[in-house]
Structure formats: structure tokens, C-alpha cells
Amino acid sequence: ELKVEQNPLFLSMQEGKNYTIYCNYSTTSDRLYWYRQDPGKSLESLFVLLSNGAVKQEGRLMASLDTKARLSTLHITAAVHDLSATYFCAPRAAGNKLTFGGGTRVLVKP
């Protein structure tokens, strides 16, 4: 059974600084998704990472995947208030199922 651990669970950020969210998973997976959820809203897909060493970037967010270490990171560059949300990683398990991490709640303070 695929288990997913995200850390930290909560991240208080200062505007303008850089931060990283970590996603560790327990068994082999062929792809990993990152999602964002704003308070009271549903989940929005950010990235899909398909192979070892894959890197995707969109604005101030950059996601990477190390399949050998079973680790994905979401790096936030020069945090801004608009990035306040909860971020989830979700590697794909057998049978086309996504297993979600517990989420990292991000709060960016001025």
C-alpha cells in the first residue's frame, strides 16, 4: 500500500523568502501530481511529474521528482500572499489511483 508523507504540515512564510515542501512516498510510482486548494474551494491541479529528474515550473512554484529517493519537492520562490493555500502531493498507485499526502497549509504573511 502506497503511503505518502508531506512535511511540514503548516508553513508560515514571509513575503519575498524561499521555501520548500517535501513529499515522501513509500513505494514505486510512475507519476506524481501536485494540487492546490484554497480555503472553501476544491482542488486545482498544478503539476504532473512523470520521470526521475522531472522539473516543472509555473510562476513562483517549481516542482521536482526524484523517483529513486521517492521524493518530490515543491519550491516556492519569493513568496507572495496569493500563494497562501493548502498544497497536496499525490503519487499514482497501482490501478490508476492517486494517494494524497496530508497537505501542507501555507500562510504567507507580509
Binding site: 500500500e1 504540515l9 476544491s42 512523470l50 499525490a90 494524497f100
Partner: protein, 113 residues
């Protein structure tokens, strides 16, 4: 744009009631999923379906059942609601083609009293 619509945003039910949560998607997606979301636990998969009349158990199916009579509609059924089923329920769909992500509905917050 894919739209996944969940019929209720908020529901309050009593212990022992039979509860139906409805989900409809408009993109002809093959795959549909039901998750529940609880603080600190992320999303946990209850049931999913790859085709009409087909269903598969997820990680926490106990106390739930599902129905998929039409491709666009996937229903989650709580046979006899209990207080530990108080949660946010999220429906999602995907095409299953390539790397298409899950598209989520806005969720139904169910309270069982």
C-alpha cells in the same frame, strides 16, 4: 472547461439515515472517484469507477457504497450514516488518457448528528 458538479454543498443528516451524494461530470470522462477529506489526513479514496456499472473499492470503503448507472453520474451512498462519517466529500473525474489530472467538484460538507 471540465465541470464536476456535486448536488449539495452542505448536508445535515441524522445517525442511521440513508444518505445519497450525487456527482455529475460533463466531459465524458471514463473515470470517477469519491474521496473524503479530513484535517491532517489529506484525501482518502472511498470508491472509484472506470466505467458504467463498474466499481472498485478504494482505501476506506466500509460503510459506503456507490452507483454508476450512467457515464456522467457517480453516486455515493451511506447506507446508515454514523457520526464518524461527518466529513467533506469530494468527487473527481478524469479521462484516463495520458497524464490527465483529476478534476474535482466543490465538495459536499456532510454533518451527521
Amino acid at each position: 472547461d471540465v465541470k464536476v458538479t456535486q448536488s449539495s454543498r452542505y448536508l445535515v443528516k441524522r445517525t442511521g439515515e440513508k444518505v445519497f451524494l450525487e456527482c455529475v461530470q460533463d466531459m465524458d470522462h471514463e473515470n470517477m472517484f469519491w474521496y473524503r477529506q479530513d484535517p491532517g489526513l489529506g484525501l482518502r479514496l472511498i470508491y472509484f469507477s472506470y466505467d458504467v456499472k463498474m466499481k472498485e473499492k478504494g482505501d476506506i470503503p466500509e460503510g459506503y457504497s456507490v452507483s454508476r448507472e450512467k457515464k456522467e453520474r457517480f453516486s455515493l451512498i451511506l447506507e446508515s450514516a454514523s457520526t464518524n462519517q461527518t466529513s467533506m466529500y469530494l468527487c473527481a473525474s478524469s479521462s484516463g488518457i495520458g497524464v490527465s489530472p483529476l478534476h474535482f467538484g466543490n465538495g459536499t460538507r456532510l454533518t451527521v448528528t
